[in-house]
């Protein structure tokens, strides 16, 4: 780590310990998201890490970004994911948006004053995203949106929603992307999801009922590029989810080792039982392997090497590992690990979603296999 990275990591650690850690248990129980915590990230300049300085970004690399996410995930996976998703939307705006769109929407996002949500999934189109049904009908001066989007992170707290909707025929080429603001008429937030974990993150349905979106909010000013824009974020999105998984795993490992050293049964610290030593050795090895994979993916991305296979592998390996590690961590703590007095059971519930978002791990395997086939054909 360079000096800047170490400094940032230390500052974030302090912030998370002060502002996030003490409330996580209660906020998880009550499904409460605290926008002020996200705004606090803005004070550290981390809400638009890879974005250009001229729009208020830090113009840093993905190698920097994954360190930030890794650190935050040690205290809260939901806030780390909120940051990752909002940054992904900013990246898409920056790459596909018009100059006017960038100037209008990016500064409030990079400063952390506002949050952005990514609206792709629908009740019947999850993995098969290109089959989405939300309609955008051309009308005078803009488009009328009708439909609904499911599992939208930070819904209700975000101001900017990047919405993929159908302007043309079936398939991916009929999809366009729109910048929808929360105060537009016909936009509303529907049912809030009750979830196994990740409960601090507000996840809800977003509904469009004859929602008029002015022409200037069509992303990049051209129809039919929405799906491409949405997919452009995927590779790097996977790197970020991998980083979050590694942060979570690291925390679970720290907690288990500390507990195993303190807890005595049969007159010795449980750490000294070989059965637990093997578990902990495996946990540490698997997480180190995952982290190296994530770092390599980030480095290649920063060096402009497109490697979808590596990104999918990093996400797959890091999140499957996080699931295994958090499950074993609960096991090492035994009865107290299962109670909500300790955070381990929450870590385990939070880990599961990482295997599902940014492409389920089944989809990662499909991507990896597709790339393998290309290599060998």
């Amino acid at each position: 780590m360079n000096e800047l990275q170490t400094e940032l990591k230390n500052q974030l650690k302090k912030y998370c310990l002060d502002k996030i850690e003490p409330f996580m248990e209660e906020d998880d129980e009550k499904n409460r998201f605290r926008p002020e915590i996200y705004r606090g990230f803005g004070d550290y300049g981390i809400c638009g890490i890879p974005l250009p300085e001229k729009f208020g970004g830090a113009e840093l690399t993905y190698q920097d970004f994954i360190l930030v996410l890794h650190e935050i995930a040690k205290y809260s996976v939901p806030y780390a994911v909120t940051l990752s998703v909002s940054t992904m939307v900013q990246n898409i705006l920056n790459e596909f948006g018009t100059e006017a769109q960038k100037q209008k929407y990016l500064p409030a996002l990079t400063s952390g004053e506002e949050i952005a949500s990514f609206c792709l999934s629908e009740s019947h189109s999850g993995s098969d995203a290109a089959s989405l049904k939300t309609q955008a009908k051309k009308t005078k001066g803009g488009y009328i949106l009708n439909g609904s989007k499911l599992w939208i992170s930070t819904a209700g707290y975000s101001k900017t929603y990047l919405v993929m909707a159908r302007t043309g025929g079936e398939g991916s080429s009929g999809v366009s992307a729109f910048i929808v603001r929360d105060d537009m008429k016909g936009f509303s937030v529907g049912k809030k999801e009750k979830k196994m974990g990740w409960r601090t993150s507000a996840t809800a349905e977003v509904i469009f009922e004859n929602c008029f979106v002015p022409e200037e909010n069509l992303l990049g000013g051209t129809e039919g590029t929405g799906f491409k824009a949405a997919m452009s974020g995927l590779d790097r999105g996977r790197i970020t989810i991998g980083a979050i998984a590694c942060g979570l795993s690291e925390r679970a490992i720290e907690e288990s080792i500390q507990y195993a050293l303190e807890r005595k049964q049969f007159n010795q610290a449980i750490f000294d039982f070989q059965g637990l030593q093997f578990m902990m050795a495996d946990m540490a090895t698997e997480n180190t392997a995952s982290w190296l994979l994530v770092k390599e993916a980030a480095e290649q991305y920063d060096n402009k090497i497109k490697n979808s296979k590596l990104c999918a592998m990093a996400k797959l390996k890091a999140t499957d590992t996080a699931m295994k590690i958090t499950t074993d961590a609960v096991q090492i703590l035994g009865g107290v690990g299962y109670t909500s007095e300790y955070p381990l059971e929450r870590y385990m519930r939070d880990a599961k979603v990482l295997q599902i978002v940014e492409g389920t791990n089944q989809i990662q395997r499909v991507v990896i296999a597709r790339e393998l086939k290309k290599e060998f054909n």
Partner: protein
Amino acid sequence: MWFFSDEEKQIQKVCRDFAKKELAPKAEHHDNEETFNLDAFKKMGELGLLGITSSPDYGGAGLGATAATIVMEEFGKACAGSTLSYLAHTILCVNNINSNASDIQKEKYLPKLISGEHIGCMGMSEPGFGSDAVGMQCKATKAKDGYLINGNKMWITNAQYADVVYLYTRTGTEKNDLTTFIVEKGTPGFSVSKEIHKMGMRSSPTGELSFQNCKVSETQRVGGEGESTIHMMKNLELERITIAGISLGIAQACVDQCIKYAGERKQFGKNLAHFQMIQKMVAEMASETEMLRRFLYTVCYEYDHFKKDNVLASMVKLELPKRATKIALDAIQLHGGYGYSREFPLERMMRDNKLNEIGAGTNEVMIMIIAKNLLKDALRT
């Protein structure tokens, strides 16, 4: 299973219907609210299930491990939390009184426990003594006409609802100086000091019991002083087998739900059943569940007809819960976002099942028992 007796098949049917009607519809609610389905518990009493392994002299059904495990499986499919409370009552409390208490004690406690008028729990683990239960420190000291009990018991299922506690205490300094008592709710000095909030099994109340100069008369002592370890040994196998039954129920419910969903959910123009990756997940989880079912019920059959086997019971307790967690995690994965949401029961089943890897002896303790038995001779040299 093909070798179930007619009576066991009948129990299976009755429990399946009961679970569908009384447990499944309310499982989500009680999980969300962390409340106990007392109504269903009382109805289990009406069906005669609360003393399934206990003597008919006191209202019990006098059946074996197979019948008890069938109940666990069927209830476990619908609401594992309610099933855990049922287990703590029926197997940990009622069955232990039935096998270890005097006729006078049985006459006094069993009829009401078996009818469902009273609820029972067992007190073994302590804050500092979980896996190392025999190291317990909750003390019973001899006093005039009885004993004074001092100490705490942790992770006690049914604590808040229990009228009767089947309690293990320390009465001497030697490792095995442990003595069993029956303590009634309302005995001065006895209280539930804490409610414990858990990841899963949230419809099963868990608490900490506190004893502060709690006076019990000698008539509340079960057997003689120092007999607890003998009591514990008697029913260990049954306790491990039955808790594995809950995991079997969970695994089967996950398989059933996945098969249903694979036929309903469409992506890329066809239902999920057409994707080989989904086929693999369904085929593997179903094969594993079937293997676990046959393993579990074979051990039950041997327990009922031939002999108790500590190693086999520990193997059952290790393998069923461990594999059911994996199956439940895969079932969530197969359902994607929906699996993660509370609209589907899968995430609850996974949370519930994790307890079975910890309660009634952790996986690690099972491994220790199995290894120590198998390596007995080798360990001497």
